[in-house]
Amino acid sequence: MAKKQIALEGISGAPGICIGKAYLVDTEGVDVVEKYFIHSDALADEVIRFKAAVKDTRDELLEIISNTPEELHQGSYILETHVALLEDKMLYGRAIDTIEKKHVNAEWALKTVISDIKAMFQDITDEYLKERRVDVIHVANRIMAKLVGVESVNIAEIDKRVILVASDLSPAQTSQIQLEQIKGFITDRGGKTSHTSIIARSLEIPAVMGLDNATDIIRTDDIIIVDGTAGKVIINPDEETLVYYEERRSRFEKHKAVLVRGSRQPAETADGLRLKVMGNIELLEEVVSVIDNGGEGIGLYRTEFEYLNSPSFPGEDELFEKYKDVVEVMGNRPVTIRTLDINGDKAAVYAADRYELNPALGLRAIRYCLKKPDVFETQLRAILRASAFGNVRVLIPMISSCNEIDKARVILDKASESLIKEGIPFDSDIKLGIMIEVPAAVIMADVMADMVDFFSIGTNDLIQYSLAIDRGNREVSYLFQPLHPAILRMIGQVTDVARKKGIDVIMCGEMASDPLYIPLILGIGIEELSMNPQSIPLVKSVIRALKKSDMEPFMKEVLKQKDSMDIEALIQYNFGSILSEKIYSQ
């Protein structure tokens, strides 16, 4: 019998449509547990089998802990907690009890214990403590995997064209995936700007996030359709639905091809203002995609990848080789390398948990680098060495005070001096810029402008910090509004300061990549944009359809508005037809 078609609504993570088989990346995937009875004579052996599984699990955890570089992964004490939980009475003791008293197999005993534990946590209202159940379940699942003989799923080894279904993918997991193998992503958690969707967009993989219970409903090998554009997932589609989506999929691909063909033309407004449209990258492989899509440089090179994918801090030579490759491919086009922006979210390998209560406000980016000056200096030396091969700029993230700029410059100078001493070539005029993503930096922009060569406005974080919105939190993600008048004023203020002081300003957040915001960006007067490579063709075509001279009266109206909805309405009223023609034209 054909299975029933089910449709799920989530949040669009990355556009596009894909149809394929689901692959559950979740240890809960071993949920199908058989129950059988154990003869009294064999009970002792069954208990031994259970104990052996626990021992294997402990050995495995201890090995992971010892392989985790202390510096990088604050996740390891979570694992130590997990080791302690392994022999907890409620888990270990009760499972053995159940085997002995109910004469059942170890898997079944463990399964009943797990469901009892889940029930114990059911009524807890405190969200933080309620989430601790994840730790317990995680540990139990590890034992279960050992019992049923399933190796814990290593997503680095997935080798078929599948659609990944996970409750959440940590950046570390995302970075392990062999991306050419993946057709699409869907996750229970996350939102439009969570790391997973950013990665998915940059690799042109359709993704839907925030589905809540996809991992409960979807089973490995189910046929699913991912409509990343609409944020929809359809499980077990019927014939009619399949045909409909197959058509939409090919229309989407054609549309993309048309845009890409036009992407070579310059980003010049109808009245002759030339903008520079660049690409954001995280992986070396994406450079090609920037060039293919008509990008005029790298406006943001995120450098966390090498750190997350390495068992210890990467060395200078390793980093240098990577940076040099990117710089050489780009020739004389600018490559803006952002120094390490590691934080709780991005550093915790063992996804579900973090103990920094508020990682977004914690030890991250420049704060982390200043605390680890040797790590920072190693990266700066690698960047400087790469600067000898092209047009490199250094970008420091999360600046919130002038003092941090001073300190960063001291380390940069130290790196330069050491290179001079060693006779290693580099660009001694290398430009140093800062990310404007903390409200304090917006307010201090006039002072900071005298200390640096350029500003880069990171809209995602600026919005998060200014509007006090956790962009990964589904409950409040609707409040993440780039059109909030406060945000537009801040961006306007920074741009005005930069113009007055004669320094460049780049916009590199998601905001730069959405056609809806292009009239505002032109109006504010930003002339350098950087975005995920796939957005470049559309953004360029929108720029070409607009006139800079129309923006002045438009901006006057915008600045009179009280909230984001009014501003959106104003954009639609003035430019709606131009934008939709560009977005949907063939």
Partner: protein, 89 residues
């Protein structure tokens, strides 16, 4: 039986790591040690049981020991809790 009342003062409450510290102390106990909150009790030897008690910051709990000879254990736990497990309070 001897008991003593304490209040959870650390920001995160009785979470896996803090409960782990209690369980570590209780390992040396020869008889049962209980944490009681609003009439519900948890075995202080089990992290999971203590977690399920859901003690947030500000929760008032009672520590109870079965054997008066193990007063030290009671006091050690009380001290640990009152000092917020060495975490942020």
């Amino acid at each position: 039986m001897i008991s003593r009342n304490v209040t959870i003062v650390n920001e995160l409450g009785l979470h896996a790591r803090s409960a782990g510290k209690i369980a570590e102390i209780v390992k040396n106990a020869r008889s049962d040690v209980w944490l009681i909150k609003e009439g519900e009790r948890a075995d202080a030897a089990s992290v999971i049981d203590m977690l399920a008690l859901a003690c947030v910051k500000g929760s008032e709990i009672t520590i109870k020991i079965e054997d008066p000879a193990e007063l030290d254990i009671l006091n050690d736990i009380a001290e640990l809790i009152e000092q917020g497990f060495g975490e942020q309070v």
